[in-house]
Amino acid sequence: MLLEVKNLKKTFFIQGGSKSKGKEVHALDDVSFSIKKGETIGVVGESGSGKTTLGKVIAKLLPPESGKIIWKEKDITDISEKKNLSFRKEMQVIFQDPFSSLNPRWKVGSIIGEGLKNLTLNINKDSLEHEVLNVMKLVGLDQKMINSYPHEFSGGQRQRIAIARAILLKPEFIICDEIVSALDVSIRGLIINLLKDLKDKLSLTYFFISHDIKLTNMISDRIFIMKSGKIVEILENGDIERTACNPYTRSLLEAVPTLQKV
């Protein structure tokens, strides 16, 4: 197993407003699963279902309240960041909004190269730039734009920058958190096709978080359906409209608009 999580729990406390009292929200409520190398896992749920929290906890961007995260047979739940640089390289995250996840004052070359620069000792400037140019080509960015700023790129291109930044470190596992939700359909296709290319070339494992159950079904081997911090159903890729049993999954499927033709 590449990744195993056991009984993950995470609770947030939401402060009350003028008329309401605060309350506890169980973002993760006893979540367990394991993922094999090369698998693509889809995570589908509505906002507030805990899917983003799950991604953040796995990537160790948020500490879990209880439970275990086992990466390559090693318990990394409480291991410190400094002792665990190799894990940071092996697992990368791409976020939803390519407008807020890229530093507007940095040149694209520095944004893409930052991770490699920080995690590799004694890397010289030329070889760093060489690596950045290579990865820009791989994701289909114009190499001439290495000294441009994020605002000079369109939404789809910015998402390519975020993908380039993630794969530069040659990770094995990439968490994609709603990475195509902010994009137009014609651009969505380009990014999903790019993910497929990269998976074939670099044998990646994806953890694809999305609210789009149809798209997620296409690319995933298994889909976790989340609701109120729990995985309520796990679907195998295929004819999910036939195989889905859980009433919540069914209601999600029914709410998805399909093209109405004659």
Binding site: G17, S18, K19, S20, T40, E46, S47, S154, G155, D184, V185, S186, I187, R188, G189, L190, I192, N193, K196, H211, K214, L215, N217, M218, I219, N237, G238, D239, I240, S251, L252, A255, V256, P257, T258, L259, Q260, K261, V262
Partner: protein, 319 residues
Amino acid sequence: MLLQINNLSVSFVKEDREFNVVENLNMEVNKSEIIGLVGESGCGKTSLAFSIMSLLKKGEGKIRSGEILFNGKNLVNLDESALSQIRGNKISYIFQEPFLYLNPVMTIGRQLAETLMLHKKYSYKQALKVSIQMLQTLGILDAEEKVNLYPFELSGGQLQRVMIAMALGCESELIIADEPTTALDVSTQKQILDILLSLKKERGMSILFISHDLPLVSQFADRIAIMYCGRIVESGKTETVLSYPKHPYTKALLHSLELKSTWEYIPTIKGEIPNLSNKPEGCYFNSRCDKASEICFKNYPDKVMIKDEHFATCHHVDH
């Protein structure tokens, strides 16, 4: 005819250059009809909506030519006082992010009442009562308590209902809904759409529904218009356009929506959407189109009628 837009051109000025974001646009909205205006980001659909509402920022965007007739009255260059009789009253606007357009330090009830007091000349008490009724019609439970809350205490779906309640209270004839469900979950989206549909059926309201989501619009729009680079490239009855698309852009969009159940490449459109400030000669879709011939790089195509109300602007429409 409730709304009729004739040859409308809207231009923006950026860095001393003026360019059209809406170009020679014609559109009609009948009474109790839902029109779906579909296009990708930056195609000018929001600029069109802003023009109808006269919300274009002065010095940034302006209507260059054409007319916008609402119940036969031209809204272009109408003075501010005449406009305020119509805007927010006869025509309501629902935004993509209600959170940005509601006052964060004013209770929901006050904001709803304010609109009614202005347009309907109600007293505050009366206005609040009507507001509560409207919220109840829209399926908000305990509306009497909800009106005392501030926007941040409500969910996205509830806020969108507040925006719709404003339109309802004023008995608007036209609602312009600009991506009203994009920020919502699919199940909430369905509830909001059901509400909009019932407004059309029960109150005879007309809706101009602006969206990038073709499958969504296809659920309930009577007619559909596809927009590309500030122009409408294809329009017609929803089922006709989607079943027999004639414009290469419409066809390509529909292709990119076909998802298999195993991971295969999604069909894409080559090239990128041209910048509105730097559109190509001839047809704006020419460099991305497989059918493009010499004429496509020379002249912008005329509107071709295919069959009752189904139009496409392309040099190579096959009948």
